[in-house]
Subunit: 314 residues, 2 copies
Amino acid sequence: MKQFGNYFNVRHFPEYPATLYEPSEYSLGLGGKRIRPVMCLMGNELFNDISPEAYDVATAIELFHNFTLIHDDIMDRAPMRRGMPTVHTKYNESTALLSGDVMLIQAYECVNKVRAGSIHRIISVFNKTARQVCEGQQLDMDFEKLENVALEDYINMIGLKTSVLIAASLQMGAILGGAGDGNAQHIYDFGLNLGIAFQVQDDYLDAFGDPEKFGKKVGGDILANKKTFLMIHAQDVATGNDKEELETLLKSDSTDKVERVVAIFKRCGADEWARQLKEKYLSIAFQHLEDIAVISVRKKPLEQLASFLAQRDY
Amino acid sequence: MKQFGNYFNVRHFPEYPATLYEPSEYSLGLGGKRIRPVMCLMGNELFNDISPEAYDVATAIELFHNFTLIHDDIMDRAPMRRGMPTVHTKYNESTALLSGDVMLIQAYECVNKVRAGSIHRIISVFNKTARQVCEGQQLDMDFEKLENVALEDYINMIGLKTSVLIAASLQMGAILGGAGDGNAQHIYDFGLNLGIAFQVQDDYLDAFGDPEKFGKKVGGDILANKKTFLMIHAQDVATGNDKEELETLLKSDSTDKVERVVAIFKRCGADEWARQLKEKYLSIAFQHLEDIAVISVRKKPLEQLASFLAQRDY
């Protein structure tokens, strides 16, 4: 993370027009865990010494990720991100829209540094993933309008919105490291399942996280009536008064909405259920990591990162 | 145009999720003159038989252009485009934002079909142009907030927002056709100056066009207080009552605003001035076309297209 930070924490855009590029730089300056680019480097290092190209693609991935954050925050009307005003809140929606656009274009500028022998394969993975992330965001918005979402549909949506980028980050790193098709598929599937585990934890933190550490307003998903893992489970298992209260709360904007929904989650055992679900996906992920044909000592850092991501409290 | 239409008028996106991809297809179905992709093909044909790769890049250019239209219409709050509701009006802003995003990604998928020997150069031109178009849109929005814009600044903005894409379309076609650096620069400059002439005509049509043929609401720029070529000239030369009335109208939303501003334009001779300005840029453009080192019969179609674009009434 530190190595990537040293490489990434520079200015990425021109000075002029400042009305366009200052918001872009502001967005990157909000920081974040840089998990996806680090995964690209780690996927690369699993097979070889980290190559300069892996840094270029890692940068493209982080720029792409920030592009999605800027645009998603507009769509979700999110006021805060990492404890700071979101781009459209600090500036305005049009500028945020356009800053996101140039960030996506800049991502492709980094991808364009990959050598001729790999560029088509990398762009192909990058584009497919980018499309899927957009599909995931659209499904996420569609689901907000539904009263009920099946767990299976939610997992599919989360797979698109979150997991494919984690999977593709690892895979693009691996491809640049010379991974064959079989290994490239296993590392992708490792990332895909890890991504679901990651999202279970994210949903968990929205309801049960420490606001100081989390950086976002706790209960944001609840206020937006998002069908998270916890909400879907609660809707599935709640009975009697809890079921009725949950239905009522989903239609209300009462000031104690978050508090009361969280209480129902607890009474339904949604917290414990989520912990087990996370372990299930984590274990599938670890099986795919196990199946990658490199000596096991090389896999240690990815094992550690995966465990960290699924247990983090921020 | 017909050849490109046959190639382009197919489905470009998957079926699912329809909430994302139907708006994208709707946007492409609104039609348009397909000028930019045709210019890519013509730039290619100036040097060689049209290659399959030129069709791929032409498609990328038209998808990119549609991406900018979808996003610009959101930012400009434009209700209509080519006589039909804009994407965000027919669907909603979030969906339009995301449909634009996937359209840009799809553009890069087409660019990715260019062979290894040319792909880096093509993506480099494509990205630089895409960034400039975003810069132009940002400056355009910035200028709406200013009371006065210098003609020079407006021409710079228009160069970015409109001309660079026309210039780059021709140039990318030329590069794929094997043009050397000198010729590639001349065709770029031909496009750049033609683009300014094109915009002068566009601004002219907004005020003086026939609404039936134009497809957009006449006076849209005036209602949005856009500093067009006509407005900038009128602000420069209007005196006495006209000057005062123009200042007042710029701050008003009165129902006869368009009519009265157009009348001032006429009294200032802005229509005739615009015609001369258009001719000036057209003549610089033709000089660059002249300077391209291919036999002159090959240049005829570009000459005709340029004349058509600068004289069109729709």
